[in-house]
């Protein structure tokens, strides 16, 4: 037995089963156009690919064995990178907390304050960190300060978003319970909003630190302090064996940081 006219069946068909509409077609054409142009502008020829492979051979043969002669200044530079990451992340995590609270629906009632905060975070996030670094180098000169500020901005944008999502999914019961004692806003927030979200703060903060240490390495390339400067110098001077030593050191530090941070994360959660 059927209840519907067969001519109506079509409208019960899920979207995916139909051909794309006009906007969909335009989307596809747009994508294909740029894809093809991109490929052709990259000048990919068999010859170039061969040459690249050949250069890789030269690079590797010159990079090995790595040259550890400059290990002392390089280590100091690595320490500077590490410091940039630690300071930038720590300050960023702390500052991201008020940002998160101000952009969370269940904590901040005023839509105006929320959208202003979200707007600020949006700017921090959408401007790429190398661009921030270039700006800060212009403002504060070459060196670690520009790196620290860049990492800080990066961390605020990253953490505030996760923190506020975590805060928004809090059970509102305990918040209401503390509010009903006649507590001021601060008491409610520090009593019933931050403690339940704390494990997630720590874990997000550690992720941010892992991200920062990789980010801080790259920042050196634009002069914002740390080991990136060393790496760029070795590369431009074609001292590939020195570069190899630096890359090995970076690898070691990043791996160690990830290992330690995942250990801490397991313990907190």
């Amino acid at each position: 037995m059927t209840n519907h006219n067969k001519s109506e069946y079509a409208k019960h068909m899920p979207k995916r089963m139909k051909w794309p509409g006009i906007a969909g077609w335009f989307g596809w054409i747009f994508f294909l156009l740029f894809f093809i142009m991109g490929l052709s502008n990259a000048n990919i020829t068999v010859d170039r690919l061969w040459r690249g492979l050949f250069n890789a051979g030269t690079f590797i043969s010159q990079a090995f064995p790595p040259d550890f002669n400059r290990i002392e200044p390089v280590t100091w530079a690595m320490i500077e990178t590490f410091e940039i990451a630690i300071v930038g992340t720590a300050v960023g995590v702390v500052i991201s907390l008020p940002f998160a609270l101000l952009s969370a629906k269940n904590i901040t009632r005023s839509p105006l304050i929320r959208s202003v905060t979200r707007g600020l975070l949006g700017v921090m996030r959408t401007v790429p960190d190398l661009v921030w670094a270039l700006i800060f180098v212009v403002l504060f000169g070459l060196g670690p300060l520009a790196g620290i500020l860049t990492i800080m901005i990066d961390t605020i944008a990253f953490c505030a978003r996760f923190f506020s999502e975590r805060i928004e999914e809090l059970n509102k019961g305990p918040l209401e319970a503390l509010e009903s004692t006649g507590s001021k806003r601060g008491g409610v927030i520090f009593g019933a909003a931050i403690p339940p979200a704390f494990p997630s703060f720590v874990s997000t903060g550690l992720f941010a630190f892992e991200k920062s240490i990789r980010g801080a390495v790259v920042l050196g390339l634009v002069g914002a302090g740390g080991i990136g400067v060393e790496l760029r110098t070795s590369m431009t001077l074609m001292k590939f064996d020195e570069a190899a030593a630096i890359i090995l050191l970076i690898l070691l530090v990043v791996l160690a940081v990830e290992k330690v941070s995942s250990k801490i994360r397991l313990r907190v959660i």
């Binding site: 019961g173 319970a177 503390l178 009903s180 006649g182 001021k184 008491g187």
Partner: protein, 260 residues
């Protein structure tokens, strides 16, 4: 002496749901009232209006003769300090210690919030919190995480938090609805005895009329947001309340069921 006066209170939520309409009753100081009513009859809404989490749409609520609608945030906080709440889901902060949760009861009344936070808590606050925990028989679990306790124990911790607050009026919203019968009895016994020994006024919502009869001095009934029953338990002749849970109440005006 009238402690709480609900006068023609109506509440319509923003989405158009009329949760309360023209509810009126007075509660005297020290009275023990149980509020009955089907799911969605407006019991929780009434409580939320009394402590100012929700605004009433019409009518007045007087606390100790003072109107509590249209108050500034600060004035509302002053009123809340004297109203203790107990909730169905306990509403403890799960990953903090039992002790810390009880301390939070002092948030409103302590001059600065920081004096109820762990390492910053003042000695007198700590002692008082332990006293409250002792009163509910849970001082031995003070260091445990709140969410590691059984439901009955968590509700007793919530009662200790309420005691820490030293309210004059206690609003308990289905305090035993998530508990098994024996834990429920324990919690009701405890709630009623602490409230009575301290001369507090209590309004408690329940879904079990037979339990209401064991504790209440007075039973009030809501049906679809209307006030339909108000009786002293001592004067009750019909102790069956099935009619209160029926979909449609026919021909039942307030006069019919209220004795006085």
């Amino acid at each position: 002496m009238v402690h709480l006066s609900i006068q023609q209170v109506g509440k319509t939520y923003d989405d158009g749901t009329e949760a309360l309409s023209s509810v009126s009753f007075d509660v005297n100081k020290g009275e023990g009232v149980v509020l009955l009513g089907h799911n969605g009859s407006g019991k929780s809404t009434l409580f939320r209006c009394i402590n100012g989490i929700e605004n009433t749409s019409s009518g007045k609520i007087l606390y100790n003769g003072q109107p509590i609608h249209d108050l500034s945030k600060k004035e509302i906080r002053e009123v809340r300090k004297n109203i203790g709440m107990v909730f169905q889901q306990f509403h403890l902060v799960g990953n903090l210690s039992v002790f810390q949760n009880v301390l939070f009861g002092g948030l409103g009344k302590s001059p600065s919030s920081i004096s109820v936070f762990g390492p910053f808590a003042k000695q007198e606050m700590r002692m008082k919190a332990l006293e409250c925990l002792d009163r509910v028989g849970l001082i031995h679990v003070s260091k445990k995480r709140a969410d590691s306790l059984s439901g009955g124990q968590q509700q007793r911790v919530a009662i200790a938090r309420m005691l820490m607050q030293e309210p004059e009026l206690v609003l308990a919203d289905e305090p035993i609805a998530s508990l098994d019968p024996s834990a429920g009895k324990e919690v009701m016994d405890l709630l009623w005895s602490v409230v009575k020994e301290r001369g507090m006024t209590v309004i408690c919502t329940l879904h079990q009329p037979e339990i209401a009869l064991q504790y209440a001095e007075r039973i009030i009934g809501l049906h679809k947001g209307r006030f339909v029953l108000d009786q002293q338990t001592s004067q009750l002749d019909d102790t069956r309340f099935e009619w209160l849970y029926e979909k449609n109440l026919k021909n039942l005006s307030k006069e019919v069921i209220s004795v006085d």
